[in-house]
């Protein structure tokens, strides 16, 4: 009986804590937006963050995209040819990539590469009192440190997702056309007939934009909010990766059901 009460009490405490954190994150987001002016007027601050979150994620994105596309090519052909429609390989590869895998997998990679680095950096600056020092120098840390990292992530992510999808289609083409011998013309023409720019590709871009903003917000928030100790920092980093992954997958479900329900 006592154990049950205790459990319910802990559950309640966790719920209150969770709601409190969401509210705090929302207030933090409003503050971030209000102090975003400098990210635009002093564009080199943002450009620098695009370098750290975008350029440094290039390699992992390009290589993973290529391999995911190649696996799709192999597995997809295996299944499609049983129904005699191996020519539709291009459709399968491109639709899975532009609609789902591109934004989602690129988002997960982005969270674990760039998101983690941002949390670690901001968290370390907090732990070593660099943010306090900045604040005492009458420089707002949210405007100077947090907002450029957020916008850098927001800009980088759709480009990375597009690169991931493009590399994936190339990988599928490599396996399907070059190695297996699907007809080159059929591969591309069936793909073009099935993939609609506004419907499939733009929705993919919208998804990647939403994921980018979500991951970037989680990353800067966890870093800024971390307990300023070594242990608190490592916990914040773990939280960034876990929360980002969950948020991406949950948001993907919501967005997919809004975008594609009953359409095809």
């Amino acid at each position: 009986m006592n154990g049950l009460l205790n459990f319910i009490r802990r559950l309640g405490a966790a719920a209150v804590e969770g709601v409190w954190r969401i509210g705090f994150a929302a207030r933090f987001f409003m503050l971030l937006l209000r102090h975003s002016g400098q990210s635009l007027t002093r564009i080199h601050l943002t450009v620098r963050e695009i370098y750290f979150s975008g350029v440094l994620s290039l390699l992992i994105i390009v290589v993973s995209g290529l391999f995911v596309g190649m696996v799709l090519g192999l597995q997809g052909y295996e299944t499609l040819q049983r129904y005699g429609s191996g020519d539709a390989l291009g459709v399968l590869v491109s639709l899975s990539l532009t609609r789902e895998l591109g934004p989602v997998v690129a988002g997960l990679l982005f969270a674990s590469r760039a998101g983690l680095a941002v949390t670690a950096e901001i968290g370390l600056m907090k732990t070593t009192e660099q943010l306090d020092a900045m604040d005492m120098m009458a420089v707002n840390p949210i405007a100077r440190v947090v907002a450029p990292r957020f916008w850098g992530g927001v800009i980088s992510m759709p480009l990375l997702a597009a690169l991931f999808s493009a590399m994936g289609v190339f990988g599928g083409w490599l396996i399907g056309v070059v190695f297996i011998g699907v007809d080159d013309g059929a591969f591309w023409s069936q793909m073009q007939a099935a993939v609609d720019f506004r419907f499939d590709i733009m929705n993919g871009v919208i998804k990647s934009f939403v994921f980018g903003a979500t991951v970037a917000l989680i990353a800067v928030f966890e870093g800024y909010d971390c307990t300023p100790t070594a242990e608190g920092l490592s916990r914040a980093i773990t939280r960034t990766v876990v929360t980002s992954a969950l948020a991406i997958l949950a948001l993907d479900f919501v967005l997919t059901s809004l975008m594609f329900r009953g359409q095809s």
């Binding site: 600056m125 070593t128 009192e129 306090d132 020092a133 005492m136 120098m137 009458a138 420089v139």
Partner: protein, 272 residues
């Protein structure tokens, strides 16, 4: 000297502060005259750093008033607070240098953020500040390449970059070797006099402080327990001051954390 009320830069009146339920400061009265170096001393965890944050406006007092240059800090809005902080320099405990910038860029940071000066002028000002702390030659190093004492001096150069009216130090001597300690101590005094600034220093290093400061406040358990000039304190018969200056392990500040009597814990405690 503390009686010259019209010439005070910082004054705290009955300041109280609590983190939630936990009361840190219980009614502090403190006066810092212009041009002086004042030390706030006390054991670890007695709320000294909290005091600096109250003066800098990073925390707000639960009760009482904090006045800096005649203005009540708790009543300022963010813009006014930032305006005031431009005329304050603060040295954090471990320097808090920006790890992704070189020494030069660290010192140039406040100048670049708050002024539109041309590059050449900023360069000259940064090199002058670095020269004042004896580190002009280290301008191109990264913070990771500096020793603890050097990092502290660079942070000091950064704190005085905008020629502040008030310089605050949070434990400037913590973790330094005796030579660096002497260097920092001399710098604190010399920079204060050269810039015509006022200095507040939070520390528990009594020997170094007695040599360079004009006035000392002792803080314990959230209140001021003693104050005076270094000479007055050296001659003081107050048991609290005596224990602190002579570093006695036991006295008004007990060696033992409050507990039941020893024989009770050892014998009575087990049989219970």
């Amino acid at each position: 000297m503390v009686s010259e009320t019209d010439n005070l830069l910082v004054s705290l009146k009955d300041v109280r502060f609590a983190y939630g339920e936990r009361e840190i400061l219980r009614g502090i009265d403190l006066k810092v005259p212009r041009g002086k170096v004042v030390a706030i001393m006390g054991g670890s965890g007695c709320g000294k750093t909290t005091l600096l944050r109250l003066i800098g406006g990073q925390l707000r007092a639960t009760a009482g008033t904090v006045e800096v240059a005649g203005r009540n800090v708790s009543s300022l809005n963010t813009a006014e607070l930032y305006e005031m902080r431009r005329r304050m320099g603060m040295l954090f405990q471990f320097g808090a240098l920006f790890t992704d910038m070189s020494v030069f860029d660290n010192v140039a940071f406040p100048l670049r953020e708050h002024t539109d000066l041309p590059f050449g002028l900023i360069r000259d000002m940064v090199l002058m500040k670095l020269n004042a702390v004896g580190l002009r030659g280290a301008a191109d190093l990264m913070p990771a390449e500096l020793s603890g004492g050097m990092a502290r001096r660079v942070a000091l150069a950064r704190a005085i970059a905008l020629d502040p009216m008030l310089i605050m130090y949070d434990e400037p001597f913590a973790g330094l070797d005796p030579i660096s300690l002497g260097v920092i101590g001399q710098l604190i005094r010399k920079l204060n006099d050269a810039l015509g600034a006022t200095t507040i220093m939070v520390t528990h290093d009594i020997m170094e402080s007695l040599q360079i400061v004009d006035y000392i406040y002792f803080v314990s358990e959230g209140g001021i327990v003693a104050e005076g000039t270094p000479d007055e304190l050296r001659a003081s018969k107050d048991p609290w001051v005596y224990q602190f200056i002579h570093a006695e392990p036991d006295g008004p500040v007990p060696f033992h954390y409050p507990a039941e009597a020893l024989d009770q814990s050892l014998i009575g405690g087990r049989s219970a």
